[in-house]
């Protein structure tokens, strides 16, 4: 930086000697204490770096030993203590009883929303909308394992087709690729689609009907409306977990995919599971 100090002719004041693109600055001296305050802030920052954890070195904590996470812990603890009376009441009740009490219901919906976002949204979506390919929507009115408060709570507690819980919901669909010819599978698919008025080939559907009654009706019910107690999904409605076109249905008949869900009983507090059941029930499809 050029430091040619000149005298400004108009004011008789020296310039600071600093020049930026031809702009020069008159030197109007600042009070000295101003400079000392600036030095004091530098000294303060140095002390601050030693006292508080501001050096990005792993394990360096600062002499005060202060850590944001540890400062948060007692606050979290205090919040939990504040929630505990409500949680204790929820723990002692069934989801239906919680939902019937306006105060508890509001608490459970708020708590269930958080627990859902933390634990369930990864598969079932942020709003419980699910995804094609085996992640059922929880916002609609079709329930593979039942949509009552108790059924939802049971499913959350024990999960589906997992090896860790003996009470897990389990159903098994055989792979019909080994038992039926491709033509038969196509006919069955046509019949299944015709149940929800999606069929295009009445003759094929007629042939498939017979095979359906022999092979499928036991779990999916003769009219295709499903058997929730056995986990046989409704095939006659407009909701398709693995896709509702003929190719998808045929693939599902030939080599079925079946989703799994972990048991949450050991992972989550019983009150949290009850709140989740209330929340999922209120997403829009809960049954009595």
């Amino acid at each position: 930086m050029p430091t040619k100090v000149e005298k400004d002719h108009l004011t008789g004041t020296d310039t600071t000697g600093h020049e930026w693109d031809g702009l020069r600055e008159l030197n109007t001296p600042l009070p000295k204490w101003w400079l000392y305050v600036f030095y004091a802030t530098i000294a303060f920052s140095a002390v601050w770096m030693i006292v508080y954890p501001s050096l990005p070195i792993w394990g360096v904590r600062g002499t005060s030993g202060w850590v944001a996470r540890e400062a948060l812990a007692p606050q979290l603890e205090a919040q939990r203590a504040r929630q505990e009376p409500m949680l204790a009441r929820i723990r002692a009740l069934t989801p239906a009883q919680v939902a019937a009490d306006p105060e508890l219901r509001a608490f459970a919906l708020a708590g269930g929303r958080i627990a859902f976002a933390n634990n369930c949204a990864a598969c079932h979506g942020a709003g419980g909308q699910g995804a094609v390919g085996g992640f059922p929507s929880l916002a609609d009115d079709e329930w593979i394992w039942g949509g009552s408060f108790d059924a939802i709570q049971h499913t959350i507690r024990h999960g589906i087709r997992n090896a860790e819980d003996d009470d897990a919901r389990t159903s098994q669909m055989p792979a019909y690729a080994a038992m039926l010819t491709p033509a038969q599978i196509g006919d069955v698919a046509e019949y299944v689609l015709s149940l929800s008025n999606r069929g295009t080939d009445a003759a094929a559907a007629g042939r498939g009907r017979e095979t359906f009654n022999e092979q499928c009706a036991a779990c999916h019910a003769p009219n295709g409306h499903g058997v929730p107690e056995q986990g046989g999904p409704n095939l006659a409605d407009q909701i398709w977990l693995y896709g509702g076109d003929k190719a998808s249905v045929m693939r599902q008949v030939a080599n079925p995919r079946m989703g799994v869900m972990p048991a949450w009983a050991g992972r989550l507090d019983p009150a949290t599971i009850t709140m989740l059941a209330v929340f999922v029930h209120a997403l829009g499809g809960g049954e009595q």
Binding site: T3, K4, V5, E6, K7, H9, L10, G12, D14, T16, G17, N27, P29, L30, P31, K32, W33, W34, L35, P102, R105, G125, A126, G127, G128, Q129, S137, A139, D140, D141, E142, N234, D237, Q238, I239, A282, G284, G285
Partner: protein, 504 residues
């Protein structure tokens, strides 16, 4: 600026090469200012403004205003915990902070307008820095004496008298500063309820923090920093020149009349006797005779000081006056050929014209001011006390039900700014066939959901709107949620949203 003294101040270019002159330091010791006491109309106006401003500041929190049970009865209160701003009959919610923004815009434009008309009247009369500094200087003068006594006192520090007087001054300053900090927190807490808690140590740490913060800033800024705040810290002196023009009334030395300076009885000299009264009373320690300068806060105390001297000399007052630069130039041009004396003065004063207050600049400021006032007034008069916010749930965009129906969900927030709870029926306007259900809401005889409001609060609801299977709708259909007063049957509030479905 007076030509006479401008030419005097214009020094010829330095004879010695610049490199030879030692560079002035970038930092220097502050030269302490010892303003002398002064009396006169400007000083009286300043006292009046000071008493009004400080009187309001310290007493407004004590004004009571009955709002009914469970509501604060303090007229002016910023209630942080319940997120409300109370101002007499007005109650503002946090989302209505634009009324505050509007007030700040008004204050800024008003400041510009006042500056274009009367120069830095804000700085000189009403700025808190000026007002509190003025009060602190008054205290200082009462205890330590006037200018000469204070200078003498500071020449011999650490004497008994010095210690006693300084201690008394700082104690008084701290007392005022504490009252300032104490009054500040009363704007955020109920004054009558907070005062006993404050003195028994039962107030929150935030209250004590802000109390000490405003105590410290008042004490330091008004007691120690003083004119340095205006000269070095405040941005306003830097750009106020943009609001001033040659028709603004500013504190000015009439150089055409005062120069050349000389003894009162000398011959051929102007009216300025170089008594330095104007310099001695200046709170920022400058010489107004140097012309317009950044450090001048426009307080006009030099006018009182000079008028006093002129009066005693039997000369016309107004050697320093609130004067426009345009008039200054006119007087100067008229008086230039004349010799100093009463004739020159009469000629210069005769050349003046009345100040032009109606100028394009003031019209623009008045126009903007009027527009902002109109917008704010309109916004206030049309302010809704009932508001229905409809937030469409976007995950999922829509839900396909087992029978093929399509359902959308909406979060409804019912804001009630009155202090009475009411119930409204919710009606959905949109494509025929849409079914409306509000979770947890009772329904009236016609099957419409009834939404209850909370007094001075928000209630939340979740609405499910279903298009039955077979209803052919566009991908997006406009819908309107209407709140109907069940007694009158009239719609009191409506909010538009959309209903989404699959591509047809």
């Amino acid at each position: 600026m007076s030509k006479v003294e401008t030419t005097e101040r214009l020094k010829p270019p330095a004879a010695s090469p610049p490199a030879a002159s030692p560079a002035a330091p970038l930092y220097a010791n502050r030269t302490k200012v010892y303003p002398r006491q002064v009396s006169g109309p400007v000083r009286r106006a300043k006292w009046a403004v000071l008493i009004l401003c400080l009187g309001l500041y310290y007493t407004v929190p004590l004004i009571r205003w009955d709002r009914g049970p469970n509501l604060p009865d303090q007229a002016v209160l910023v209630d942080m915990t319940s997120a409300r701003l109370f101002f007499f009959w007005i109650e503002i919610w946090p989302q209505e902070v634009y009324y505050l923004t509007g007030l700040l815009v008004l204050a800024a434009i008003g400041l510009f307008a006042a500056t274009s008309l009367f120069g830095r009247v804000w700085c000189g009369f009403a700025c808190p820095q000026t007002v509190w500094t003025d009060l602190f200087m008054w205290v200082e003068r009462r205890i330590q004496g006037d200018r000469n006594a204070r200078m003498r006192l500071d020449q011999h520090p650490w004497t008994r008298e010095w210690l006693v007087k300084k201690a008394a001054t700082h104690a008084a300053w701290l007392g005022i500063a504490m009252a300032t900090g104490g009054a500040w927190i009363m704007y955020f807490n109920d004054a009558l309820e907070m005062t006993p808690r404050f003195f028994t140590g039962g107030a929150s740490p935030e209250v004590y923090f802000f109390f000490w913060m405003f105590t410290a800033t008042t004490y330091l800024l008004a007691g120690w920093a003083r004119e340095q705040v205006c000269t070095y810290m405040c941005p306003w002196p830097r750009f106020q020149a943009a609001m001033l023009d040659e028709n603004s009334l500013v504190v000015t030395y009439r150089g055409w009349r005062g120069e050349p300076r000389g003894k009162a009885k000398a011959d051929g000299v102007g009216d300025c006797v170089d008594c330095r009264a104007c310099v001695n009373v200046c709170p920022t320690g400058i010489d107004i005779r140097d012309g317009q300068q950044l450090e001048c806060i426009g307080c006009g105390l030099c006018i009182d000081a000079c008028d006093d001297v002129m009066g005693r000399l039997g000369r016309e007052r107004g050697l320093i006056a609130f004067e426009t630069l345009a008039n200054l130039a006119r007087s100067e041009a008229a008086a230039k050929p004349l010799r100093p004396g009463p004739g020159r003065h009469a000629c210069g004063m005769a050349a003046r014209t009345p100040p032009r207050f109606l100028r394009p600049r003031t019209f623009v400021y008045a126009g903007v001011l009027g527009a902002v006032v109109a917008v704010m007034l309109g916004a206030w008069l049309l302010r809704d006390t009932l508001d229905l916010a409809v937030i469409r749930e976007r995950a999922p965009l829509y839900v396909r039900l087992s029978d093929g129906a399509v359902r959308n969900a909406y979060a409804l927030k019912l804001v009630n700014k009155t202090h009475e709870a009411e119930r409204f029926a919710l009606v959905l306007d949109g494509p025929r066939g849409l079914a409306l259900l509000v979770q947890d809401a009772a329904t009236d005889a016609e099957g419409r959901p009834l939404l209850a409001t909370r007094p001075d609060g928000i209630t939340q609801w979740r609405a499910l709107v279903t298009a039955p299977a077979g209803l052919r709708l566009a991908e997006s259909s406009p819908v309107t949620f209407r709140l109907v007063d069940p007694r009158t049957g009239r719609a009191v509030e409506s909010t538009a949203s959309v209903f989404l479905g699959p591509k047809p």
